[in-house]
């Protein structure tokens, strides 16, 4: 599988502040990629470099195996976190304008807009002014504007901020569908629960540096601490504490840490032999949130030590 986007040692400085410090990562084609990091980590700076809004001071960016150039904006769809539309324009007119600016012919843009209007069941919007729409409706229009020109790469900066759950789900479904159709998607956020659900791969940026990147499942595996949760009824064998490390114990459940993963079967067998009734047996994987916080505090400490 080839990569839609590849960054190599990208650097960007503003006056004395280093916003992006030698960041490298790749985004595999046709996947959803999470660009994560706390506020002020350099996410927006990176996105602005990828969308050709600004230029990197050093390093290289390849889009679809081609060095970033002036034709690329037409292949990218970007929905900024700070987004808006011309309030006085009519929805149809506005989308037509943005579509044409992305290189579509007027006829093609019109066709695409109609397609999306039908899809969202908003065919009566064409003559409405942007300012007449509710905020959620404006977001829908904004989303259409972003995907109108069928970009190869879609960059969404905090796409769900300000959306109600219904519209958020609607957009989420569209993101999945676009992925099915081969669009690669970069999803920038600091909200981890969304990333876990949606993203295939992530990069974690902190203080302008790549702290962690890779496949979500793999990262979780790498960070797991062999924790298992057992929910049971009855009494546990009294010598259990001597054989395994019990992290937490309540009336009906325990969390144990094993020295290695393969011991899980053994533990279960032992428990079954003692006759205790097992309700459930789960491996506890770290959430991205935990990994995120751990990595961010770790790197911050590094910086402090230095």
């Amino acid at each position: 599988m080839s990569n839609i986007l590849r960054l190599e040692d990208v650097v960007k400085t503003y006056e004395k502040q280093i916003a992006v410090n030698r960041v490298s990562f790749t985004v595999p084609r046709g996947t959803i990629f999470g660009l994560l990091g706390p506020n002020g980590a350099g996410k927006t700076s990176l996105i602005r470099i990828i969308t050709t809004i600004t230029k990197a001071d050093a390093g290289t960016v390849w889009l679809d195996e081609e060095k970033l150039n002036n034709r690329h904006p037409e292949q990218i769809g970007y929905m900024p976190e700070e987004r808006g539309l011309y309030k006085k324009m009519k929805v149809g007119e506005h989308l037509l304008y943005l579509g044409q600016l992305k290189g579509l012919s007027k006829a093609a843009a019109k066709q695409e807009i109609k397609h999306w209007f039908e899809k969202f069941a908003i065919t009566d919007w064409w003559e409405k002014k942007i300012e007449e729409l509710s905020k959620g409706m404006q977001q829908k229009a904004q989303f259409i504007a972003t995907v109108l020109h069928r970009p190869k790469l879609l960059i969404l900066d905090e796409p769900f901020s300000g959306l109600d759950p219904i519209n958020a789900n609607l957009i989420k479904d569209e993101i999945y569908e676009l992925k099915q159709n081969g669009t690669s998607i970069i999803f920038s956020t600091h909200r981890m629960e969304q990333v876990e659900e949606i993203c295939d791969n992530i990069v974690l940026i902190n203080k302008g540096q790549n702290v962690l990147d890779g496949n979500v499942k793999q990262i979780k595996n790498n960070f797991k601490e062999n924790l298992f949760k057992v929910e049971y009824e009855g009494t546990l064998p009294p010598d259990l504490a001597g054989r395994v490390n019990i992290v937490k114990q309540t009336d009906a459940s325990i969390i144990v840490q094993l020295s290695e993963e393969s011991q899980s079967n053994q533990l279960l067998q032992n428990l079954l032999k003692t006759g205790v009734y097992i309700r459930s047996f789960n491996e506890i994987l770290p959430t991205l949130n935990e990994i995120f916080i751990k990595q961010v505090t770790d790197t911050n400490q590094d910086v402090l030590v230095r």
């Binding site: 900024p80 808006g84 324009m89 504007a145």
Partner: protein
């Protein structure tokens, strides 16, 4: 269509289609027309307050000839003595009593008449009475001094200076040349001044709106910030040209219609105050018209449009740069717009000097200095400045325009992405040197 074209088209069409634009474009000439009608009415208005004045001619100045009744002022010679009149004033149906004492010395230049009335006379009544007495006194003195009326009239000489070229082949000017040129010059200067402000501010507001409505980041992910800025400047400039062109047609047209409808003649306002006889006025108008049409319009008009474009591009690009640095708060931007508005205002004042002394060194150098030239040079054009000055001025202006648009582009691209920060002039300067 290329992207710059698309931007220009949008900027132009959204403004031209706006109701406020259509209203302003149509209502302004109508406003002018209403203004002229009202002004004309006011000037033509005469007091409808009639006065009857009794004259007691103690000095026999009138010699029995009562001054003609005019403008609701009725004179009547009265033989009753003043004391009786004053006592029985109510029974006599007069509004005032004018007493003309005898002239003791014909060479005395001062003369005092007395006017008795319940209330002091109003200004217009006083003026009218003064005029009548003055005329009568003049006739009285001419007779008393045994002067020849014709000789006296011969003393009133009207002096005119007729300009003639040294070079016998040169263009012959009339004594109206510089007045007409000054008129054309100030008009052009004022138009330039207004358009720079109106449309420059329009660009600035529009940039601010794009920034505060957060559309700008969406836009510049498709087009270069410079394209967006340039497209806006050109689009708004086209709106300005459209509006000025419509006004140039509508204002004379509506004025003409109003004149026909109300029968009001603007010329009368002028001639009423200065006492030029009708024949002279006609000759003057004819001369002015001839002078007006003898101007080299084929040179002046294209140059005017050139300076319009130059001034507009220069200042609106600066306004765009400042707009990009501002937040939603117009007041906070005052400190930033001031450095732009000051040269415009200075140029405006220099322009008035330039139409009076078009070849003074202040006028000449100001019309070459690019921040002033768009306003000062059009004011000088009608005076036929030397070709080298025009060429130098246009050249400097064009170069400065390109430079300023480029410079503003550099400030703009940084400014539009910066939120929630109060920006100083110093920072704007720094942005010019930012890398892309």
């Amino acid at each position: 269509m290329n992207k710059l074209g698309l931007i220009i088209k949008r900027e132009y069409l959204t403004r031209v289609k706006r109701r406020s634009f259509i209203l302003a474009t149509i209502l302004t000439p109508l406003g002018f027309a209403v203004f002229f009608v009202v002004v004309g009415f006011i000037f033509q208005y005469q007091s409808d307050d009639s006065k009857r004045v009794a004259i007691i001619d103690e000095g026999n100045i009138l010699k029995g000839i009562v001054p003609p009744n005019e403008r609701n002022l009725y004179f009547k010679s009265e033989r009753t003595d003043l004391a009786t009149l004053r006592k029985d004033f109510k029974n006599y149906d007069y509004d005032g009593i004018l007493v003309l004492p005898a002239v003791k010395n014909l060479f005395n230049k001062n003369y005092t008449a007395y006017y008795y009335s319940p209330e002091p006379p109003t200004l217009d009544v006083e003026t009218l009475i003064k005029d009548r007495v003055d005329n009568s006194l003049r006739d009285y003195k001419i007779e008393g001094l045994k002067l020849e009326r014709k000789q006296l009239e011969a003393l009133d000489t009207r002096v005119e200076i007729e300009p003639e070229p040294i070079d016998p082949e040169g263009e012959d000017a009339t004594n109206l040349t510089s007045a007409i040129a000054a008129g054309i010059g100030s008009l052009m200067g004022i138009i330039m001044y207004m358009t720079v402000f109106i449309y420059g501010m329009m660009v600035m507001r529009s940039v601010m709106e794009e920034k505060t409505s957060r559309i700008v980041e969406v836009m510049i992910s498709s087009v270069k910030p410079f394209q967006l800025m340039l497209g806006k400047i050109i689009g708004v400039g086209a709106v300005g040209l459209t509006q000025v062109a419509i006004w140039a047609i509508l204002i004379p047209l509506i004025s003409l219609l109003v004149n026909l409808l109300f029968g009001f003649d603007a010329g009368r306002v002028q001639t009423a105050s200065t006492q030029i006889n009708p024949g002279d006025t006609e000759a003057l108008v004819a001369l002015a018209m001839q002078e007006f049409s003898s101007q080299n319009w084929w040179l002046i008009l294209p140059l005017f449009i050139l300076y319009f474009l130059g001034g507009y591009f220069l200042y609106s690009s600066l306004f765009a740069a400042v707009g990009s640095a501002m937040g939603d708060d117009l007041g906070e931007g005052q400190a930033l717009t001031l450095p732009i508005t000051i040269p415009v205002i200075i140029a405006f004042y220099i322009m008035f000097v330039a139409v009076q002394a078009p070849n003074s060194s202040l006028a000449v150098w100001s019309s070459i200095f690019p921040l002033f030239s768009p306003i000062v040079m059009p004011a000088r054009l009608a005076f036929g400045p030397p070709a080298w000055q025009i060429i130098l001025s246009v050249g400097v202006l064009a170069a400065t325009c390109v430079f300023f648009v480029w410079l503003s582009g550099r400030i703009y691209r940084v400014g539009i992405l910066l939120y929630g920060k109060k920006v100083t002039m110093k920072e704007l300067g720094k942005w010019m040197f930012y890398k892309e």
